[in-house]
Amino acid sequence: MAVIRWQTGPGEFPESASDFDRLRQGMEWLLDSFGSPSPGFTSRVFPSINVTEDKDYYYLRAELPGLRSEELDISVVGNQVSIRGERKIPVEKGEFNYHRREREDGGFRRTISLPMEIDSDKVSAEMKKGILKVTLPKHEKTKPRKIQITANK
């Protein structure tokens, strides 16, 4: 009789687990690799961006800890905002060994299309506490104009 070994993937489980457990865990591992995204899935791009608006402006925010404004490149064309940059993590002086290395560095680039056209001449940006905030004025010509209704006498 052939002995079938289940491929179980990352993570061990105790020997005492039943065959049924093994089957279930094997299936779950397969689903994680190839199946639908798990709940709480977010867009897999960096940096994550939030956009808010009020009457006259769009506000674009991104979390970019450790980035200096000189390391960022922001450009606006029509209604598209592009953010480009590179995060560099400096090597610490002092002959350190790493126990954990979770923070990522490297290049990134994102382009967001906004619903309305932007007045690119008046865009401003600031970097504070590691959060980039880009203030984008809505273009005058696309802002809804109040239309006067003349009453017929």
Binding site: F46, I49, E53, G66
Partner: protein
């Protein structure tokens, strides 16, 4: 530009234990932990946290870092597109080394916390002279 492309990471959310102070999600900051002969250094990404609001607690070898975030969006702002949520940062570590608490230093720069934990100087064993009569 041949710079290495960043691998995106989702913000890791803390599982609620029911002991939190404020409502809303709480996130685990990404950290680098470094060590040399003299100190342990922790670098934590906590964008939106002000240096004066960071809370660092060390007792019974457990180091707790709390980074509260104050709201950045004005009341009149309406959400158009949202990829991430705001929330405080929280993380705990168990330290294997004894730390000289009086010499801990912490600095917040552009959303990155730099925490220096100098190790307590090991007391040198005293040589015991044995007199021979």
């Amino acid at each position: 530009m041949d710079a290495k492309e960043m691998v995106p990471q989702e913000k890791k959310e803390v599982k609620r234990t029911g002991e939190e102070m404020r409502p809303g999600p709480v996130f685990i900051p990404a950290v680098d932990i470094l060590e040399n002969q003299n100190e342990i250094m922790i670098l934590a990404d906590m964008p939106g946290v002000d240096g004066k609001d960071v809370d660092i607690d060390l007792r019974n070898d457990i180091l707790t870092i709390r980074g509260p975030v104050s709201p950045v969006e004005d009341e009149k702002e309406v959400s158009v597109y949202r990829e991430y949520s705001w929330g405080d940062y929280f993380r705990q570590f168990t330290l294997a080394e004894v730390i000289d608490q009086g010499k801990i230093s912490a600095k917040m720069d552009n959303g990155v916390l730099r925490l220096n934990l100098p190790k307590k100087e090991k007391v040198k064993p005293k040589k015991i002279e044995v007199s021979v009569s």
